[in-house]
């Protein structure tokens, strides 16, 4: 029983991280109709930045983490300005460009960081006894709470602030939004940056638990895509629910069915969703 609960908790920790990463994809899809295939690579880069800032340069981890996320935010803005902006309205070219970019970044990461996983230092050590049932690593608990904090911040940003309002306006009706004075170029750029930063945030919080490697990036992107389709394209609530579901299914599946096939569960979910409910849990049925 306690074993089961532990796998479930692992699933929840992975789930909130999945949710952060998926919201990054979902924002960009919702606003720009662009799928960022380089999402996993941004996640990886953030993990490595955080490692190198804190271990090689001696920046305190608590500063290194947000700093890495900020770097990735800038990378995202740079990507949007140079590569993505000319492709608006041409879905096919944006798919091709971000896919090529993902291969370029993956090879660049192999070249710069090497193929080995690097683990940034833990913020806390030890373990806590949860309700007298089982022991759970403090670092994982902290990761869980930081992730929830990030999720709350995102929801606040999108639901309550002026920036969030303009994002939602653009994703609902681009033409109308620009008529009422929303600068949609700026919104695109900032939301692409924000989407990238969320990939970065997920990478930074997970790196101390599961060190990242350059070759793991396509699995990370895929996880985020599965969550987005499962939750419903463009739905933030869907990302949270989908992320948690995927995290738990993967962890329980890996524990009780097969470790080697951990990543297959996500794909099976994707196919099932496409067969039975292609618009996802919270998405709207259009046709």
């Amino acid at each position: 029983m306690s074993e089961f609960l532990m796998y479930l908790t692992n699933g929840m920790v992975m789930g909130v991280i999945n949710a952060i990463s998926a919201i990054g994809v979902s924002l960009i899809v919702g606003i720009m109709r662009v799928v960022n295939f380089a999402h996993g690579e941004l996640y990886i880069f953030a993990g490595y930045f955080s490692y190198h800032l804190s271990t090689s340069l001696g920046v305190p981890p608590l500063i290194a983490m947000p700093l890495s996320v900020f770097f990735i935010f800038l990378v995202g803005i740079g990507m949007e300005r140079t590569l993505i902006r000319p492709t608006y309205g041409n879905e096919m070219y944006s798919l091709i460009i971000t896919f090529v970019l993902s291969i370029v970044l993956q090879n660049a990461a192999l070249l710069i960081f090497g193929p080995y996983p690097n683990k940034p230092p833990n913020l806390v050590s030890g373990a806590t006894n949860i309700f007298g049932l089982y022991h759970y690593g403090n670092q994982r608990l902290l990761t869980f709470f930081i992730s929830i904090g990030i999720l709350l911040f995102i929801f606040y940003l999108i639901k309550k602030t002026w920036f969030g309002k303009s994002i939602r306006a653009v994703s609902q009706d681009r033409g109308m939004a620009s008529l009422v004075g929303v600068d949609h170029f700026r919104v695109n750029m900032l939301s692409f940056g924000l989407g990238a930063a969320l990939a970065g945030a997920a990478g930074v919080v997970i790196a101390p638990i599961f060190p990242v490697t350059p070759t793991g990036s396509s699995a990370i992107s895929l996880n985020a895509f599965v969550v987005v389709v499962l939750g419903g394209m463009g739905s933030l609530k869907g990302c949270v629910v989908g992320g948690l579901l995927l995290g738990m299914i993967e962890n329980l599946g890996a524990a009780y069915i097969s470790t080697m096939y951990r990543h297959i569960f996500g794909f099976i979910i994707l196919i099932l969703v496409l067969v039975f409910r292609p618009w996802g849990i919270f998405g709207q049925k259009t046709q």
Partner: protein, 313 residues
Amino acid sequence: MANAQQKRNFKKLWIIGFFVLLALFPPFFLSQYWLHVMIISLFYVMMASSWNLIAGFTGQVSFAHAAFSGIGAYVSGMLAVYLGLSPWLGIFVGMGVAALLGLALGYLCIRMGGIYLSLTTLGFSEILRIIITNEDQWTRGTMGLQVPGFFTEYSKTSYYYLFLIIAILILLIIYWIIHSEMGLTFRAVLNDELAASSSGINTIRVRILAFTISSAMAGLAGGLYGHYLMLITPDIPSLGQMFLVLAMVVIGGMGSFIGPIMGSFILEILSEYIRIYGEYHVLLFGLIALGISRFAPEGVMGVLGRRWKRAWA
């Protein structure tokens, strides 16, 4: 009018005939090594041209093209190894399995729109990689599956002609498709989906059909490739391979018939020259492909075509 058209067709035939004739000669003067490079280039011609059929002509980006070639290779290879089936039959079984899987994936995703197809095909190739590496008692995993070749007496010349014949056949079929009524509907769907569907074209069925044909071609190409190398590894269905095919099409010129053919030869020959620098060729091709899709989305063929037209006008 008809006369001018006939003349142009006649000229085209001459040019094509000239190139085919030219393609018959390499085995007489190329070294074994460069003959090998030519065979691999012909494999990429099949892959790139058939990918271009869906991406360039119907505007759907599939990331499972390499995966389908892997399916062709593994199905045919495993049939030969475990059941002793002749590779000559095996490649067609592999092609059929690739076509069926393509039909299933296409049926599932295409009605949902382009993004879904791209996501699902990416997932499909990743899953295929995981299955092949994990089921190593059957596939020999990353060690590679040793399979028999097509000819009892190994000769690069025979393989060259085999690849040449199949590549020409595939190109003929693609040429025929894009210049037939089906090709017209492909382009109609690409240019304006709404207008096409309101003029009575079943846009979804057209796309699924194109996707299935192209997957079948990838399966056939993969089967040939596997039995030529006589060693099938998970590199054949990898995303790295997918990227190479995509880069060949993008660099050569998407949506043009000649573009992917040129792209395949350029990139394959180039990668032989820069092989000594290690794995950097992927990075280099990636940067070139990014630059081309950003600044010259019609590729090398598009740029050259414009030059030629201007020179002749």
